[in-house]
């Protein structure tokens, strides 16, 4: 052992405080290795020196977390805005595809805009960099329509379990179903607010259907809950929650 000096492995074991018997014997007789180990131990010891105390550190951290929570909320709202933009673009694209529907008297413009705004006061979960809500979401839907006489429009959400939530017009089962939203000749706006279950990727399907003739919310609800097609729908646009 004394013919050579300690290798890295033996030095490491000694630095960890677990030298072998051979290493201990070598260190007792080899000044150079003993000095090397001593220098290593002093370096480690000096690095262990505690940083200077900062009594304001905790206060600053707590203030920063409060700011972070605020930013997270704003980020969630911004994400909602981004989703809205994507949904809107998606809907416009699909509606243009659907413009092959019969054009009435030639003055009609086949254009329907649906804007949705998600307002989430608290964002609780972060998974894979995406923030999800564990609280009910307020969804504000505005429909601007240029026109379609005798046309009706409905917007609803159907979750993975088939449960339908009516958004336009707003309706909760147990009460008399309202009439479908009639599209007129002038631009219209329908703004409403509803509470949705927490939105997660793939879980919520926001759908929009248009009808050339009358439609019945009650019949549609029954058909959707039973998993049947919606009779009379000219176009059914599905928005998948991203």
């Amino acid at each position: 052992m004394s013919a050579r000096h300690l290798d890295n492995e033996e030095l490491t074991a000694a630095l960890e405080g677990a030298p072998s018997a051979d290493t201990r014997a070598h260190l007792a007789s080899c000044t150079q290795c003993s000095r090397t180990l001593d220098a290593l131990q002093r370096a480690v010891l000096s690095a262990k020196a505690a940083p200077a105390a900062d009594p304001q550190f905790l206060k600053r951290v707590l203030a920063a977390t409060a700011q972070s929570d605020h930013r997270t909320t704003r980020l969630w709202v911004a994400m909602g805005g981004l989703s809205t933009a994507l949904l809107l673009m998606f809907s416009v694209a699909l509606l243009r595809d659907g413009a092959s529907a019969p054009r009435g008297d030639g003055t009609r413009k086949e254009r329907v805009q649906v804007t949705m705004r998600l307002v989430q006061p608290r964002a609780e979960e972060v998974k894979d960099g995406i923030i999800f809500s564990t609280q009910p979401v307020v969804l504000s839907v505005a429909v601007n329509a240029l026109p379609g006489p005798a046309e009706n429009l409905v917007v609803f959400l159907q979750d993975g379990g088939g449960r339908v939530t009516w958004l336009v017009p707003q309706w909760r089962p147990g009460t008399d179903p309202p009439a479908c939203h009639a599209l007129g000749l002038e631009p219209q706006q329908v703004a409403m607010t509803t509470e949705l279950p927490a939105l997660t990727v793939g879980e919520g399907n926001i759908q929009m259907a248009r009808f050339n003739g009358p439609c019945s919310i009650g019949e549609m609800d029954a058909a959707l809950e039973a998993g049947r097609d919606v009779a009379g729908a000219v176009m059914l646009v599905t928005f998948q929650v991203q």
Binding site: N8, E16, T36, A43
Partner: protein
């Protein structure tokens, strides 16, 4: 919520170490900021020391703050399996390396290079009769830390985690994402590099 910042926040009764950390994280999931304050107090020194050795004491304060804020945002996804320490160092390490990358870029574009403050002494200013002895001690400590600071960041990282923060190889594997076998080999190599550094620079 107003917090009594000066008050001592006791940890959960009968719990110590990992169990107390897990219990605090569990309470944090429900938005308990007192539990968070308890964790910050318990680990502040270690996180700051680790960061000071990695990026320098001047910037360690800010990055330590970022580390704890990140910990707060991660509270919902934390699984209490006695691995809080690994999570804490993983976050701190990630911040430290990000900071080093940012510093490298900043230095490239700066007129004057950013001074490497890693080696600066962290001890509080001395006063009284022991001032000279304290000064000499600080100088010696500063020199040793300077030698540590001259090692590459990945080498320094392993040495600090292993010998300064005294993490086990299992914990280091969780922090770095490297296998324990590979870590043992790398730590041995890092010790060899530090030994050479000390040998060459020893007066």
């Amino acid at each position: 919520m107003a917090l009594p910042l000066d008050a001592h926040v006791p940890s959960a009764a009968g719990l110590t170490g990992d169990a107390a950390d897990d219990a605090a994280m569990e309470r944090m999931r429900n938005g308990d900021r007192l539990a968070f304050a308890e964790l910050v107090r318990r680990h502040e020194t270690n996180v700051k020391r680790y960061l000071a050795r990695m990026i320098g004491p001047a910037e360690a304060q800010d990055v330590a703050q970022e580390t704890f804020v990140a910990l707060w945002t991660l509270r919902a996804s934390y699984q209490p399996q006695g691995r809080f320490k690994s999570l804490l160092y993983r976050v701190a390490r990630s911040r430290a390396f990000s900071h080093l990358r940012w510093r490298k870029v900043r230095t490239l574009f700066a007129a004057r290079p950013t001074p490497d403050v890693t080696s600066a002494s962290m001890a509080a200013p001395a006063d009284g009769d022991g001032a000279l002895a304290e000064l000499l001690k600080r100088e010696a400590t500063g020199q040793l830390n300077a030698r540590l600071a001259q090692l590459p960041a990945d080498v320094r990282d392993l040495l600090i985690l292993k010998f300064v923060e005294e993490l086990s190889y299992a914990e280091m594997a969780e922090v770095t994402g490297v296998s324990q076998v590979a870590l043992r080999s790398r730590v041995c190599r890092a010790v060899g590099l530090l030994a050479k550094q000390l040998e060459h620079k020893t007066p």
